[in-house]
Every structure is written in structure tokens, then in C-alpha cells.
Amino acid sequence: MTGLRARFETTLSASAANAGRILLSMQLKRKSLVALLARLQGSTAGFGRALLQRMGKTQALQPARSLFRKYAALLVALVGSSLIISAAIEMYYSYWQNREALSAVQREKALGAAAVIEQFVKEIENQVGWAAGFLPAGGGIDQRRYDFLRLLRQAQAVTEVSYLDPDGREQIKVSRLTMDTAASGTDLSQDPKFTQARANKHYLSQVYFRKESEPYLTLATAGAGRSAGVTVAEVNLKFIWDVISRIQVGKAGAAYVVDDRGLLIAHPDIGVVLRKTDLSHVPHVALAISKLRDPVVKVPAISHDRTGREVLTAYAPIATLGWLVFVDLPLTEALQPVYAALERSALVLAAALLFAALVGVWLARRLVVPIRALATGAARIGGGDLDHRIDIRSGDEVQRLADSFNDMGGRLKESYATLEHKVADRTRELSEALSQLRALIDVSQAINSTFELQALLEAILAHACRLADAAGGAIYTFEEGSEEFNLAATYGMSQELIAAVRKAHRRLHDDGPLSQCVLKRTAVEISDLAESTHEIRDALLKADIRALLAVPLLREETIVGVLMVRRARPGRFGSSMIDLMQSFASQSALAIQNARLFQEIEDKSRQLEMASQHKSQFLANMSHELRTPLNAILGYNELMQDGLYGELPPKTKEVLGRMEKNGRHLLGLINDVLDLSKIEAGQLVLSLDNYSMRDIVQTVVSATESLAAAKRLPLKVEISDGMPNGRGDERRLTQVLLNLVGNAIKFTDEGAIRIAAVAANGIFAVQVADTGPGIPESERGRIFEEFHQVDSSNTKKKGGTGLGLAIAKRIIELHRGRIWVESEVGRGSTFRFEVPVRAEQRGAV
């Protein structure tokens, strides 16, 4: 009986536990949701803050000064580039202009120098001319000499002067360096100085170098008239040095004169002249010389002088002499003012750039400050400080942006507040629902953990009242038959009230809320007792109860009772509360029903147990009663067969033998029945001890040998070596094997019987194989049932109680083993069983 109860309780609790687990998981799910919302409520701002902080963090990674630098750089670049461009253009033009100006000045100088030199030579020419012309032709030699001496006095450059008569013969020569000669008679009539002078009135020779060092020029003038001779003067061109050296060409520049062959005639450094320097390779000299012949030639303004220096050059030709005056100024010196101007410009540019940089920085700062204020303000608002307001009053778009940020901040704050409210509300609802759910679960668990109805109902009531915010409550059971309400459980009710209620003896149809509840099969509430006509109203009022709710306990359309909760204040309970109470009610109904059912079961179980006990008792008695006379019969039979009571005729012995057989059979039956009843009563107990499987097999074999031999069936035995010692009920196991082998022999007519035993994995596996008719599949399970034999004409003839396999099965199962059969109709059957090598007593089956 207790076993049954226990079993019932365990299954119920298991299912309840499952239900509870489902509810719990639901609860957990809801719990996590609530927790999430709680977290949201608890830190709405925090969550948003975290998000925004992450955004803010990416911002912070970028350099906070990049805008400033950009602006500053942009402004400086703009101003700087325009300054540089304008300075560059100016410098370029100034360079060109200066160069042009310088070239012009130099050209002037060259022209001036050319003029002076030309003048110099012309002067000498004139003087010579005077010396020549003064004298009437054929004048006295002395006069001429005198004139020549005076010429020498006046024209320092003239080294020699001589007179050639109209025939070209030298008549007189006056020299500074050599002795004067007179009437030398040297014939110079073919000399160009004579011929050309006569032809053209004037003659100027090419420059020649005396002693390869001193430049000289031969000058010849013819006197007037055909009878005039020619006066020839040798002019030392070193005297031009006086002229040329006076021409200032900057600090390192020089003016110099070359003839049309490029030979240097005059140079500030007389030494260069005396070296008979040839300047025809100097580019601008060469070009200027060629330009004398070909005016198209362009002479560059910048060239290299004979030392390779770069010079600014200008020149002027002395047409009459075929000479060229060059004025060379070293380019560096020439461009000195240009460079100075460039330097100046550069300095100014640098100063301007510096200024631009400063201004640019200042401007950038001014631009950036409000933007930065915006950035930091936005970051703060984004970071959660929704009260922060960005203060920018620049009156432009930036300020507008700041204002919109502030707006946004305010609105965010509002929406957060609203959100918080909403979340708080929801959370509260959820926690209420959660606590309700919890209560329900507790109740369910409570219901399923105990069958103490009283305690259970009180627990339910307690939960219900708590959740309903009720001061107290009661559960009534309802008897369908008696139509009575009984107070089954109370909560929060004073003794007085309990007494009052009990006394009221509520019945159906008494117009109370209970009756109404049952009749209407729905919840009934009284929101204000003061206004109702409740029977025990006064008592309730006295107990400070102003509102009550009655909920029917329904169980499969049957009302089993009513749940009532009572509140101290008036007011409706609300549909959600009513629903909740109804769920409590159904739980209570379930509890009540369970209790009732269980009570029934318990009663029935008790009855059953008693019946079983009677049966066992009977069987035990009966078997003993049955066996005793039977044993006597058999005993006497044996004695008679042994001849103890006199020799008997063989026929009598045969008859006695048959009687013994039948008797033994009957005994076996009785034993089997007893065994079986024992097993069924759960009273079959194994006596565990060590055994040897080999021995068991041997025992069985020796017991059945003769039987097998009688039917000419070979009995093969295969026992593997090294079989461990087993632990179990040797007698019973022998019984099993005996039964199997007996059956095999009994049901096999031809072939062989094979017994095999092996041990593996701590299990003995034994099989008995026969070559009998086999067992059809449909029978294979059922043969292990009591009183069952394979129904066929063959087997029926064999006899047997049909109990053997059933008992064998029980025994094997008690050993915690298993037994089964493999068979093929027409071929044979193999009965197998496996038992643990070390068997333990199994619990009562």
C-alpha cells in the first residue's frame, strides 16, 4: 500500500516538477526580460551614454586641433602664395629692366669711349695734318724739322714722324727714340702708307706691334696739292691707355679696344696689351667683328670675357679706325643692384609671410574657437550631460547650430524622462506578474509535494490572499450530494469569524456568494459588503471586511469547492485579479481532487494488499496441506516399490511406477504453484551465494542425461574455460537451467540438444539449443507467461504445467538478468539467458 502511494506521489511530483520546470523557464524568460527592462530603467541614460561615449571616443581619436591647423595653413598658404607670386613677378621684371638699363648705360659708355678714342686719334691726325699742311710744298727742311719737333712736343703719342716727298722718298725723319735722319732717301713709294695717303689723303694702318709688344699705328697724311708729299707718323697706342684707363666701368669692369682682327689695342691693364693678346676667340668680340661686315649678326649682351668670367658687355665700333671699343662688366657686379633688390624683396616677402602667418593663425583661432565649443558641447550632451547648454553668440550659422544642439539636448532629456516613466511602469507590471507567477508556481509545487490537503489548501489560500492583497480568505469544499459547503481551509480569519462562518452552515441556493458562485460557475465578487445582503455580513463587517471575491473550484466541469478572498477595503478586484484568483482556484481544485483521488487509491490499495496477503497465506497453508499427504503417498509408493511390504508382481510394480510418476508430477505442479505465488507475492527471495556455473551445468546434465538418452538425443555440453565464480541463487539457477533443458528434451524428437555457457563482461551467457519444432514468432513473448504453452497439437501432448518458463523468467529477473528465445519454426529453438556474474538481490518486483 505504501509502495503504491509512494509510486503515485513520485509520478505526480515528477509531472509536477516538469510543469514547474516549464513554468520556471517561462518565469526565467520573463525574468530576464524584466531584468533587461530593469537595467534599461536603471540606467537608460547610462546605456545611451555608453553608446554615445563610444561615438565620442572615435571622435576623440582624431586630433582636436586639425581644423585650426587646416584654417591656419589655408590662410597662410593663400596669403603666402599670393605674396610669393607677386614678388616673383616683380623680381623677374626688375631683373630684366635692370639688365636692360645696365646694358644701355654700358653701351653709352662704350659709345663715349669710342668717341673719345676716335677723337684721340683724330686729334693726332689733325696735328700731323697741321705739321704736314703748314709747310708749303718744297719748304725748307729745317722748317719741316722744326714743325715736326713741335709736333712731337704736342703729340706725345707720336714716336716718329717723317716726310716723304711726292716720289715717295723719305726726306726727313724725326724720332724720339732713334736718331733723326735727314734725306735718307729710303724709297717708300710702294708702301701703302705712301700710296694710300696719296690716293685718299689719309692713311691709317692696321695696328702692329713693335718688338711684338708695343702697339703702333702708322698714320699718313698727304699734303694739299699734287706736289705735296706725305707725312707719316708712327703713333704709340700705349697712350690710348690714358684714355681707356680713365673710363670707369664699375669696380671690376673694363673698357678695352680691339682692332678688326681681334688684337687687343688698349686695356686698363697695359700688360695685357703688351702681351699682344688676341681676343678673336672671345665670343662677343668675334661676333662684333663679324657684325662689322654683316650687320645682321646679333651680339649677345651677356657673354664670357677672355678670363672666362661672365660679363655684361656692350660695344661701340670706331668706324674710321675699324676698331671696336668693348665695355665689359662682370655680371655679378652688374646684377648687384638687381640682387640687392631681390634680397630686399625677399626680406620684405619674408616679413610679409611672417605677418601673414601670424594673422592667419589668429584668424584660424577665431574661426575655430566657436566650432570647438560646438564640438565639446555636443560631446558633453552626447555623453549624457543633457543639462549642458552650448554658449555661442557669434550671430551666425555656428550659433544656429549651437542652438539646435541645445534644443536637441532638451528634447532628449524629456524623452528620456518619459521613457524612464514608461519603463518603470512596465517593470512594475512585470514584477507584479512575476510575483504572481511565482506564487502560482510555489503553489503548484506545494500542491505537488504533499498530499496533506489541509496544509495544501492553507498554502494556496495564503498565496492567493497575499497576491490579492486580501486580509484573509477561505476555501470551502462542496459536496454535490449533500449540497453543503464545508470550510476546508482558512487564512487570516479570527476564531470568531471562523466560528461565525461555521455556524452559518452554508448551503447551495442560500443566495450567498458561495451559492451564486457554484450556480453560475463563475467568479462572484462583492465590492462593498456594506451595500450587500450577505448572510454573515455583520460578522464580516465586524472583522473589517469590506469586499470579497468568490471563485469556483472547477475540475472537469465539476465544482469541488469555492475559493474566497476578503479585503479590508471596498472596491472591485479587477479582471486581472479575478483571473489570477481563478488560476489559484483551479490549482486548489486540482489539489482537492488529487487528494480525493489519492484517498480512493490509498483505500483501494489497502484493500488490495489485504487480499494479496490473504491469498499468500492461503497458498502457503494449502500447499503444505497439499504436499503432506502427497509426500506420504509417494513415500509409501516408493516403499511398496522397494518391496518393503512384500514382493509385488511386476504389473503391480508398473502400476505403482505410473502412480509415482503422476504423484511426482502433481508434486511438481504444487511446487510450481507455490513458487509462482511466492514470486507474485514478492516473497521469492534469492539466497545469494558463490556458485560455479560449470557445476550447475554438470548437475543439470547429469539429471537429464538419462532422459535425453531415452529419446536418443545427444546432449552436447560446451562450457568455456576459465569461467569465474558466480554469485547468485544456485538452487534457483539450477532450476532454471533444468527447466530449459527439460523443455528442450521434451519438445525435441530428433536431432541434438546443445548446452553452452560463456562468461564475458561480467555476464554469464547460457544457451540451450534444441532441434525441435521451433516457436513461431507470435508465441515467443507469450511463452514466458503463466500457464501458457505454445498452442499446437505437438506440445499439448508433452504436458507440463506451463509454469516453468514463467518461474524461470522471474528467477532470472530477480538476478537482474534476462531470458529470451531465438527460434526458427521447423529448425529448432535456442533459449538464452544472461545473468550478471555477481548478482545482487533485486528489489521486490
Binding site: D142, R145, Y146, L149, R150, L152, R153, Q156, S175, R176, L177, T178, M179, D180, F209, K211, E212, S213, E214, N236, K238, F239, I270, G271, L274, R275, K276
Partner: protein, 333 residues
């Protein structure tokens, strides 16, 4: 802080820079040697030497930026009339590793040439350097000798003779006063030919730079009617003596230097010898600045001037012809 330091540094550098470069120039001491034939060392010494030639040289050097005691070391030497001493003097100077040697007469230049073929030599009063083998050509001396000449050749002697003949048309015997130490055989030859052409017999009187007694004795013995004083350094140094001798002996004399006429000589036809020293200093400057003497051409004189001393002429009882006067560039009363 950095900027201030930088500015100070650059400013300081800018100020100090020229000083630094000047110091560089100052740092190098140029050694110039000046050798005179007969000048007294005392006359050569000092910042304002008494000897006008030396003075001109020193002053010109100073004008060109060479200051004794800072960047110039001027080695003044004088052979004091002893031409044998030239070699020794020059060798000394070579050992002193002077940068330039300034010589006077060809004899000195020869001696210098013997002593060194590397140290530049500036002839301040050279003569016929090509013929003497001192230079390869006037335009390109080609060796270590360059400088100035006193005359454009031996012909000048002929000119002087002709001029003297013009001044003293009656001249028939002419004595050429030469220095023994300065062999001028070609000159003598030219003089003789000129004399022949002019109908003047030429006699040679040789004196040593220190001793004229023999020469004077010779001249007094020969009783010429004209004296041609050679243009040697010895005659220059002893001009006072010679002028006085000529005056004593009532000899019309033609000199080579204006100083002679200023001292009382009758006439001189030549160049401004002092100016030659100025130009010599210019040569020294060029050489010290790195010019190669082989490439510095030898300068010949251009301005020859006839200077006549009327007082002396009067004292000699000479009347100068208009031709002479027309020719004379300077007349000293």
C-alpha cells in the same frame, strides 16, 4: 630663447666676417726684397726713405695695401757700390725665401737670375732684357724675370748723342762715361756708329760705381768737348759728383736722368726713373697677388723728355738753338 641666440649669432657673425677676412689677408706676410746698387742703407730705411726711388716704391706699396710690419716685410739691401756683392745678397734673400726680388741694374738682375730661377724678379730699371737673355720676349718673358726697361734699346744712346750735338754743334770729341760693372759693349758700338755719323769721335771712360777718379783723370787727360753720361745706376747715384766734375771742366754733358739736370747738368734725355719704381711696385703687387712673371710683359718707357738747364748752358757759354728749344720738354732756369 632660441631665436634670440640665433639672431645674436648671425649679427655677430656679420660684424665679425669682414674682420675675419681681413685678418686672413693680414695674416699672410709678404716678403719683398729691394736691392740697390749704391744707395746708402740709411737712405733706404724707414717708412719715408730719403732715397726718392725707395720712397716712391714704399709709398706705392703702401697705397696698394701693403703695410710694413703687418702684411709686408721689405728686405732692403744695398751693394753700396760693390757689384761683387750682388750674388751674395741675392743668395741670402733666396734663403730668406722672399716672395719677390726687385732689382735695379742688369748686372744685379743677372746675379739674381743665377741665384734663383723660381723666385720672381722684377727689374725696375732694366735694359735690353731680350738681348741680354734675361727674358725670352718682351710680351712673354717666359721665366721668373719681368719688369721695366729704362730705354727701348741701345738707339737711345745715339739719340742722346745727336741731341748733344744739336746743343753743342761744334762737338767733335765725346766721352761716354760708363760703369765698369755694367758691360755695354753693344751700346758702345751703337754710340760709336752714331758718333761717326755725326762726325763725333767717341771715347769711353769707365768708372766703378764707387770710384770715378780714374775715369775723371782719363777725361781730363783727353779733354773732350762733350760728355755723355751713361744711364747706369752708379752714374745716377754719383750724379752730384759727375755734375760737379763736368761743371769744373766746363764740359757740356748729356745725362739720362732729369735729376742730373736738376742737379746742374746741362741736359738730359730720358724717362722719369722715379716713376719706374712706382710701376715696379705695381709689378710686385701683381706678382704677390699671384701673377706669373713669365706672363707679365716687360714694359718699355714711352715718355722721353728733353730737359735742359739754361743756367748751366749760360755758364758754359752755350746758346741753345730754336730747334733744341722746340724740342725741349722742360727748361730749367
Amino acid at each position: 630663447m632660441n631665436r634670440r641666440h640665433f639672431v645674436t649669432l648671425t649679427a655677430g657673425a656679420a660684424i665679425a666676417w669682414p674682420g675675419m677676412t681681413r685678418a686672413q689677408r693680414l695674416g699672410r706676410v709678404h716678403r719683398v726684397a729691394l736691392i740697390f746698387t749704391s744707395a746708402k742703407p740709411s737712405e733706404m730705411a724707414g717708412q719715408d726713405p730719403i732715397n726718392p726711388a725707395v720712397r716712391m716704391f714704399v709709398h706705392t706699396l703702401r697705397e696698394l695695401g701693403y703695410v710694413e710690419g703687418s702684411n709686408l716685410a721689405l728686405e732692403r739691401r744695398s751693394a753700396e757700390g760693390q757689384y761683387e756683392r750682388f750674388s751674395q745678397i741675392v743668395r741670402e734673400l733666396v734663403l730668406l725665401e722672399v716672395d719677390v726680388i726687385v732689382t735695379i741694374t742688369n748686372a744685379m738682375t743677372h746675379a739674381a737670375r743665377e741665384a734663383t730661377r723660381t723666385i720672381p724678379i722684377v727689374m725696375s730699371v732694366g735694359s735690353n732684357p731680350v738681348a741680354e737673355g734675361l727674358v725670352q720676349s718682351l710680351a712673354r718673358p717666359g721665366g721668373n724675370i719681368t719688369g721695366l726697361t729704362l730705354d727701348p734699346g741701345h738707339d737711345i744712346v745715339a739719340k742722346r748723342i745727336q741731341l748733344l750735338k744739336e746743343i753743342v754743334p761744334t762737338m767733335s770729341r765725346l766721352v761716354l762715361l760708363q760703369s765698369k760693372a755694367e758691360p755695354l759693349a753693344e751700346r758702345e758700338e751703337v754710340a760709336m756708329i752714331a758718333g761717326q755719323q755725326l762726325g763725333v769721335k767717341l771715347l769711353i771712360a769707365e768708372a766703378t760705381p764707387t770710384d770715378y777718379t780714374f775715369a775723371f783723370a782719363f777725361i781730363e787727360r783727353e779733354k773732350p768737348d762733350g760728355l755723355l753720361v751713361g744711364q747706369g745706376a752708379g752714374n745716377y747715384s754719383n750724379r752730384a759728383t759727375i755734375v760737379e766734375f763736368a761743371a769744373r771742366n766746363r764740359l757740356p754733358a748729356m745725362y739720362a736722368f732729369r735729376e742730373d739736370v736738376a742737379a746742374g747738368g746741362l741736359a738730359a734725355y730720358g724717362v722719369d726713373v722715379i716713376d719706374l719704381f712706382r710701376r715696379a711696385a705695381g709689378y710686385v703687387d701683381k706678382i704677390l697677388k699671384g701673377a706669373d712673371p713669365a706672363e707679365l710683359p716687360v714694359e718699355q718707357p714711352t715718355k722721353f723728355q728733353l730737359i735742359v738747364n739754361l743756367a748751366t748752358a749760360r755758364s758754359l757759354g752755350l746758346t741753345l738753338s730754336p730747334m733744341v728749344l722746340a724740342r725741349a720738354d722742360e727748361v730749367i732756369e
